[in-house]
């Protein structure tokens, strides 16, 4: 009974996924034969040393690259068979270590841009963006400020707000607290925790921080020969 419920909750499955760069040797894999499952309402960490393939796995999960072998199933559909642009602008939200905001835009413009790209009919984009800012702990005064004038922690909050703007089912974050101090790290992780536990989202954090690993529901570790912890 419990297993059945778990299966119903599975949002994303990584099934024997491997990735090899096109210019690499035939046996030189960046990621080899990895299988994980991710459920809605849980906070995950993917841990591993440098070169273990964390970022490659994140790229595959976020649809920025396609598996060379194996598959990734989202909501029962293989990512190989769906429009990855659409997948990225509606089903998942991505948060990067270096924020990847558009520096020439304001906080509000960055958040609204994601809604625009999503193409959904949002009643009042500006109001929704301000709500999201409040949710991630950003002052409303920052709304019309260029993101370059914000601190690292504030920019990361903008990036999280942007990723939430179209209400995706899954948030994927690549070292989201790598550039932040301890206190801010904890605040950001609490936001992710709330998103998973209160809003039933699946949050996957790629990290090498033990502090992060201690706060998540489940940790997957990538080694040279990947295995599940």
């Amino acid at each position: 009974m419990k297993n059945k419920k778990t299966e119903e909750n599975i949002l994303l499955s990584v099934v024997n996924a491997s990735y090899r760069y096109s210019d690499a040797d035939s046996d030189d894999y960046a990621l080899k034969d990895v299988s994980f499952v991710f459920e809605a309402g849980k906070l995950y960490a993917i841990k591993g040393r440098s070169g273990s393939g964390k970022t490659t796995l994140l790229s595959l999960i976020s649809g920025l690259a396609r598996c060379t072998e194996g598959s990734i199933i989202f909501n029962g559909k293989d990512l190989k068979n769906i429009n990855l642009d659409r997948y990225r602008n509606s089903d998942i939200g991505i948060v990067f270590q270096s924020y990847n905001l558009l520096p020439f835009m304001t906080t509000l413009e960055n958040i609204i841009l994601s809604m625009d790209v999503n193409g959904g009919k949002f009643k009042n984009k500006k109001e929704k963006a301000l709500e999201l800012m409040e949710k991630v702990g950003l002052k409303k005064d920052y709304a019309n400020r260029k993101v370059l004038r914000l601190s690292g922690g504030e920019q990361q909050r903008v990036a999280i707000a942007r990723s939430l703007s179209y209400n995706p089912q899954m948030i994927i974050a690549d070292e989201p607290t790598g550039n932040l101090d301890k206190q801010t790290e904890t605040e950001i992780l609490n936001i992710f925790k709330d998103l998973a536990h209160k809003e039933n989202k699946c949050v996957i954090i790629v990290t090498h921080s033990n502090n992060v690993c201690n706060m998540v529901d489940k940790v997957y570790e990538l080694k040279s020969q990947t295995k599940k912890k």
């Binding site: 997948y87 990225r88 990847n100 625009d116």
Partner: protein
């Protein structure tokens, strides 16, 4: 919609680069407007010139055909050529009328000449100059005078071209010139025989039939022959075709030479017209020759302006296109990060390409409009100068023709039909005719196409960018 919004935001944040690109587009727009205006004006002038200039076809000897088997050294060959020449079937006024009845011909005129001797006047000749009386009957036979009859005013090419000019003309000369026994004689002949206006002259044929004519005009040839005492036209007496026709009908032994000119509808029809005439009985030793080369020669200067404008336009477009191409490539390289972020958050390649194209088009449109305004202002001066020159040249030409006929020809109803070779340039004295809708559409078409073509390589780059790679490079 957000694509346009993003495009607008990108334009305002990259002012320097967009202004630089705008300046280049502005220069291209200026150059395009000016050259297109000149090119179109020149083309219009050429068209109107060609429309105003009669397309004429005349019957000429096919000398090449005649001389094909001719060998100067052989007596037989010379005799054969002479025999061929004499036996060559000529054509009559009726034939000419029949030839002119063709779908390729819009109208025609002709001259009709016979050789006659003087009865009460002497030929103005101090040496043994020979005067060919007619071509068909006996080409080597000498006559004192050549009596040339014109059927219409349009046929009087020597006056139109200015070879002959009237020095004295009776008041009513042009009212009666084409009906009755009236003649125009050369000033040298008049002086030699002490003749003046209204005097009567008598000419006679080989059978001593005498024909009397009244002098209604005295003309002179433009350039005197420095070798001979008299000009070549000294013994040319001009009358109307009807008068010559009366002589040839009265005495069948007097054979005239007819030189018809057909106004054809198109130069392309010349060969077909020639075939039609052969079918109607024209001897194949004759060919049809048009004035196409002559017209092209007359239009050489305007055509040169046209060619210059075209060349200048092409060079401007090539240089402008290359510069725009480079700027676009730099633009894309500079904005790789932006492209990476936009692709990561899920914007499709197509929408991203549309955003970049929209940016280019917005900048282009603004600067094309400004460039067009500046260009049309500049084109005004250049085009007006060109038009003024053409109008001036045309007016001089018309006045000269009027002078050749003794002046006051504007009153003559037939003069309106004689503007052969004169472009109706007054139709283009307004600047609106120069930078018109056509020029604007062409300019915008060329400008926008150039901008799009120059952005192709950068658009291809967008398609090839991998967001992951871009963001990794950034990290």
């Amino acid at each position: 919609m957000f694509i346009l919004k993003n495009a607008f935001i990108s334009i305002t944040r990259n002012k320097g680069r967009n202004i630089l690109m705008g300046i280049i587009i502005l220069i291209i727009a200026c150059a395009c407007t000016v050259t297109l205006a000149i090119k179109n004006t020149a083309s219009d002038l050429i068209t109107s010139y060609e429309e105003a200039y009669d397309k004429t076809a005349t019957i000429s000897f096919n000398r090449e055909n005649m001389m094909k088997n001719f060998d100067m050294g052989k007596e037989d060959s010379r005799s054969l050529a002479k025999e061929n020449f004499e036996n060559m079937a000529s054509y009559t006024v009726d034939d000419v009328t029949k030839y002119a009845d063709s779908k390729y011909v819009s109208s025609y005129y002709y001259t009709y000449s016979v050789g006659l001797n003087g009865n009460n006047i002497d030929k103005a000749n101090m040496d043994n100059d020979k005067d060919f009386g007619n071509r068909k009957g006996n080409p080597l036979k000498n006559y004192d005078f050549t009596l040339t009859g014109y059927d219409k005013l349009e046929a009087m090419n020597e006056f139109i071209s200015g070879t002959y000019t009237m020095s004295e003309v009776a008041d009513n000369a042009w009212d009666i010139a084409f009906d009755g026994n009236y003649v125009f004689i050369n000033e040298e002949l008049a002086n030699y025989n002490d003749l003046s206006l209204t005097d009567k002259i008598k000419l006679e044929d080989d059978d001593d039939n005498v024909y009397e004519f009244e002098i209604i005009g005295i003309f002179k040839e433009k350039e005197d022959n420095e070798v001979s005492m008299f000009s070549s036209s000294a013994n040319n007496i001009i009358t109307n075709a009807q008068a010559v026709s009366t002589i040839t009908s009265k005495n069948e032994d007097v054979e005239g030479s007819i030189n018809p000119t057909f106004i054809i509808k198109s130069y392309d029809d010349a060969e077909k017209f020639q075939e039609e005439l052969y079918g109607k009985g024209l001897d194949e030793n004759f060919i049809i020759q048009t004035n196409e080369d002559q017209v092209a020669e007359s239009l050489a200067s305007v055509s040169n302006v046209n060619s210059f404008a075209t060349t200048f336009l092409i060079i401007t477009l090539i240089i402008g296109g290359v510069v725009l191409l480079v700027i676009n490539m730099i633009n894309i390289r500079e904005r790789k990060y932006e492209i990476g972020v936009l692709r990561t958050i899920g914007i499709s390649k197509l929408k991203l390409t549309l955003q970049f194209v929209s940016e280019l088009l917005m900048v282009s449109l603004v600067f094309l409009i400004i460039g067009c305004l500046i260009g049309s202002f500049s084109a005004k001066g250049i085009s007006n100068s060109l038009l003024a020159s053409e109008i001036n040249s045309s007016n001089n030409n018309q006045e000269e023709i009027s002078r050749n006929f003794g002046g006051n020809m504007d009153k003559n109803p037939n003069f309106g039909h004689m503007k052969r070779g004169i472009p109706v340039v007054q139709a283009y004295d307004s600047i609106d005719a120069v930078v018109d809708m056509k020029v604007l559409l062409e300019m915008f078409g060329i400008g926008i196409s150039l901008v799009l073509v120059s952005s192709v390589s950068s658009m291809i780059s967008i398609q090839r960018f991998s967001p992951l790679t871009i963001l990794k490079e950034r990290s």
